[in-house]
């Protein structure tokens, strides 16, 4: 796999921790003003990879982080004083998971909307639960949209219309990546085989023995995963309001924060 530097890589690079792949020490290249930069926030590695791929297919540059704190750190909102780097930091869209340990997507949304530098940036919330009160709360706080997980390509394509910048979308509908954009996995060291599997019986004894001795055989956590600490905070408790039927949907996205829409419309 070739190196990521070919096109300047991700436009805003802070540290290797913000990217799934360890790039480490790479200097931030000048920003390409025609390209859309999305900050994706999700504590699930699987979901980060998927959303990253979805965004890259739609010609976005992506910075993926694993927590609200990392997102704030990336945006320079984690301390009081304004960072001089903000002039160079261009974020066109922030897409965040709702349920995350530590800071929820809702809390992150509020902090972004409270900031003078980033309140104009559209924020989209993703959630696996279709909870009406949750959707309302987010939209009232200024979220542009609410996507139900699992997120699909059609959902992400619709997001392009919320972007503040006027960007050429000539390549947006092509599934093949534009030639100057980088596929998700180019900087991974080539694995021995794409899918290293051992026969089922050697993973661990098939009947699960629940005892302290049966430790999990997962590989050491990368710095990225260490920061998303196991799940000490309870998940949001609004399950009573699980929506069973879709709310009314409008045909075109609008500015109104009160708009509430289940994003995967059958019309797509």
């Amino acid at each position: 796999y070739s190196s990521m530097a070919r096109d300047g890589g991700v436009s805003c690079l802070r540290s290797s921790e913000t990217m799934r792949v360890g790039i480490g020490g790479m200097e931030s290249p000048p920003l390409d003003l025609d390209e859309v930069h999305v900050l994706a926030v999700d504590d699930s590695l699987v979901d980060r990879i998927v959303i990253e791929r979805l965004l890259r297919i739609t010609s976005c540059k992506v910075t993926a982080v694993d927590s609200g704190w990392r997102a704030l750190e990336f945006l320079g909102l984690d301390n009081e004083k304004a960072s001089a780097e903000l002039d160079r930091l261009k974020v066109d869209l922030i897409i965040t998971d709702y349920c995350m340990p530590g800071m929820t997507g809702y809390e992150l949304l509020k902090k972004i909307k409270e900031s003078s530098s980033f309140r104009q940036v559209p924020v989209v919330i993703m959630s696996s639960e279709n909870v009406l009160t949750r959707i309302d709360r987010c939209l009232e706080e200024g979220a542009e949209d609410f996507l139900l997980k699992p997120v699909k390509l059609a959902d992400v394509k619709r997001l392009r219309s919320y972007l503040t910048r006027d960007v050429k979308l000539s390549n947006a509908n092509k599934r093949k990546l534009p030639e100057d954009s980088v596929p998700v996995n180019t900087s991974l060291p080539p694995p021995p085989s794409p899918f290293t599997i051992s026969p089922v019986s050697s993973d661990s004894s098939p009947p699960l023995t629940i005892s302290p001795e049966s430790s999990d055989s997962s590989p050491p956590l990368s710095p990225l995963e260490i920061s998303s600490s196991p799940l000490s905070s309870p998940i949001d408790d609004e399950d009573d309001d699980v929506l069973t039927s879709s709310p009314e949907s409008s045909s075109a996205p609008e500015e109104s924060p009160a708009r509430r829409q289940k994003m995967r419309s059958p019309l797509d």
Partner: protein, 156 residues
């Protein structure tokens, strides 16, 4: 050579269809496949690999949480179930996801026996899926090695 490829391709198609028909996979898996192209030929394998890593980790967490002599922290178990439900949903692992939905209710009900049984089922289920998908990837490899292309399978 062509007959061999054709046979492998048919085997592959049938295998994929059976995985859907037996409820191992759902349309999110189809979606993932559609995101893969010539530039990212290992995307699906990579995502699934991460998913199975997740399974190992989360099942381990749950086993430890359920193995406390004394009080079991069901919210801790539930938090892990929630994570597993999320990632299984994201990759189209339909049966695993379904088990997680039940599991979540058992945690909320603080049903210890139920949770222990469900965890065992989850463990078996993800490992079964892993083996099935390995077979699928092996078939893909065989097709390519025989000089054929992996067919797009239309799930109806």
């Amino acid at each position: 050579m062509d007959a061999h490829v054709a046979q492998l391709q048919m085997q592959y198609r049938n295998y994929i269809l059976s995985l859907y028909q037996q409820g191992f996979l759902d349309d999110q898996f189809t979606e993932l496949k559609s995101l893969q192209d010539d530039g990212t030929p290992d995307f699906v394998a990579e995502v699934l690999s991460l998913f199975f890593d997740d399974c190992v980790k989360l099942v381990g967490n749950m086993a430890r949480a359920l193995d406390q002599t004394g009080t079991v922290d069901f919210s801790q178990v539930g938090a892990n179930v929630h994570q597993l439900k999320g990632s299984s949903s994201s990759v189209g692992a339909k049966r695993v996801k379904g088990l997680c939905i039940n599991f979540k209710e058992l945690c909320e009900a603080k049903n210890y026996e139920g949770c222990v049984r469900c965890l065992q089922q989850v463990d078996i289920e993800y490992k079964t899926l892993k083996a099935k998908l390995q077979d699928m990837f092996n078939l893909e490899k065989q097709i390519v090695q025989a000089g054929g292309i992996v067919p797009q399978v239309d799930i109806n």
